[in-house]
């Protein structure tokens, strides 16, 4: 197992655990300061359409999203469970790697209803080396073009 593979897999595992455990305050720290985080659909991604359901081009924007979710936005209590595939290392350099990882996210609502909320792949640029690993880019490409009700917690 290459060192890059192990680093990306470990980063993914920590990332999913952070969201699923509800530790959203720690979520922005997985990203580089000048990151890109975007949630889109496979169809938009294939067609090269640039808009995102969530679109952040800085870590500070992710901090703002977390504050908005905890202080401003109103939604029914729910949680996610991320099931991740093994990362595929697309390309690897000295301190940067491109990787893709499949995900399945089930959403658990207040009344116990559990549904498949999203499936897809993370298309990532991971910054390795000192201070890393961090996501320089994480594009969340959902397989479906359909979002049920709302997308509050990040994927």
């Amino acid at each position: 197992m290459s060192d890059t593979f192990a680093q990306v897999a470990a980063l993914n595992a920590r990332y999913a655990r952070c969201i699923d455990d509800g530790a959203l305050g720690d979520w922005p720290a997985f990203f580089a300061e000048d990151c890109l985080y975007k949630v889109t659909t496979a169809e938009n991604y294939k067609d090269g359409l640039e808009a995102g359901l969530i679109y952040a081009d800085s870590r500070a924007m992710l901090v703002d999203r977390v504050s908005a979710l905890s202080e401003a936005n109103i939604y029914e209590r729910h949680a996610y469970r991320h099931i991740l595939g093994a990362p595929f290392i697309v390309e690897e350099g000295d301190d940067v790697a491109r990787a893709e990882t499949s995900f399945l996210v089930v959403r658990i609502m207040r009344d116990g209803t559990t549904d498949v909320f999203a499936s897809g792949r993370y298309v990532d640029v991971v910054r390795l080396g000192a201070g890393g690993p961090l996501f320089a880019e994480r594009v969340v490409v959902c397989d479906s073009s359909r979002i049920d009700t709302l997308l509050a917690l990040p994927l």
Binding site: Y55, M61, A72, N73, T149
Partner: protein
Amino acid sequence: MTTTVANPGLPDGTAELNRTWPSEGVTRVPYWVFEAPDVHVAEQQRVFEGPSWNYLCLEAELPNAGDFRTTFVGKLPVIVVRDRSGEINAFENRCAHRGALIALDNSGSAKSFSCVYHAWSYDLKGNLTGIAFKNGVRGEGGMPASFCMADHGPRKLRVDTVGGLVFATLAAEAPPLREYLGDEIVARIERVLAGRTPVVLGRFTQSLPNNWKLYVENVKDSYHASILHTFFTTFGLNRLGMRGGLIIDKSGGHHVSFSAIDRSVENTAEYKAEKLRSEKESYRLADPTLLQGFEEFPDGVTLQILSVFPGFVLQQIQNVIAVRQILPREVDRTDLNWTYLGFAEDTPQQRAIRNKQSNLVGPAGYVSMEDGCVGGFVQRGIAGAAGERAVLEMGGASTESQESRTTEASVRGFWKAYRTAMGL
């Protein structure tokens, strides 16, 4: 033999609907209207296939001859396609033979359409032009000689456009589109879209756990905005000295809610004191570039929500331009199709601002995610309460245009138009 006229004024073949609207009129909304299967069935016929204009797509999505998209009028599947003369046509996505879907893609380019079931084929105007084995095989079988292809085909819709938006109607008696919308609504559409070339930046479907009319009510409801959506308040981004208003057309079915910067108050002491207080007491954005927009419109309007009966919305929220198509799926399921727009004339900086500000809208939007769940809260809240009614008395009983947005006038306007269409 007795004949009952269940629905006076409605066309023959209209399904019967034995329902009585509360005597108070549009200040009360009976909850059965969001729950009853008979109402849901009647709406398809009377609202969506009635004398209304339904949004299909953007002209910009059909740039070339043969380009098509598939969409819906209510629940009715529709193909919208540009033909070789440049005209945009719309017809049912239903084979005239045995009813199968004709086109199976969301979009594409076609010289003609052919049903996969038995290869009945259609031109770009929806005319039946070919039938597989029409003359049989080796003199056996085939269609009767009397069968006339011109007598068979999917229903065709009348198509018209305004500001690059493609609308269609199934009803011969529907007035022309511009007359249906009225001058004020047309002007407000053109204000956003005219004179430039829309570019699709993304398409998303939000699946809502509620009846379609609960979402329409939410769009029309200028009363809830500052109460349910606290993002701007929490981050101290509310702007004093905004002026605004509500435009409701005479049918009640179309509306515009808008607010604009009132530059005349920006230098007053009251404004400055409030600004200071807000800056002290609220959270700050860690990345304030979210709201550093560009001046796109000379009129200073930073928010314009425009709806067209029955299920179309054009929004301008700061520099985020989007259209929303509201489609019923089941009594308690609705598809909300978002199309985010930019313009070919955008500079790269302007495009970046649109993408950034798109965080405000859509299923994950800072000022719109609540709209995705609040309809479900009502749908679940009214279970078992079909005999009860909602109260719509904020701002009185009128459905008139006004300066105050602390009113439910445009929600009442929707019900006025709905009752007319439904014969209720």
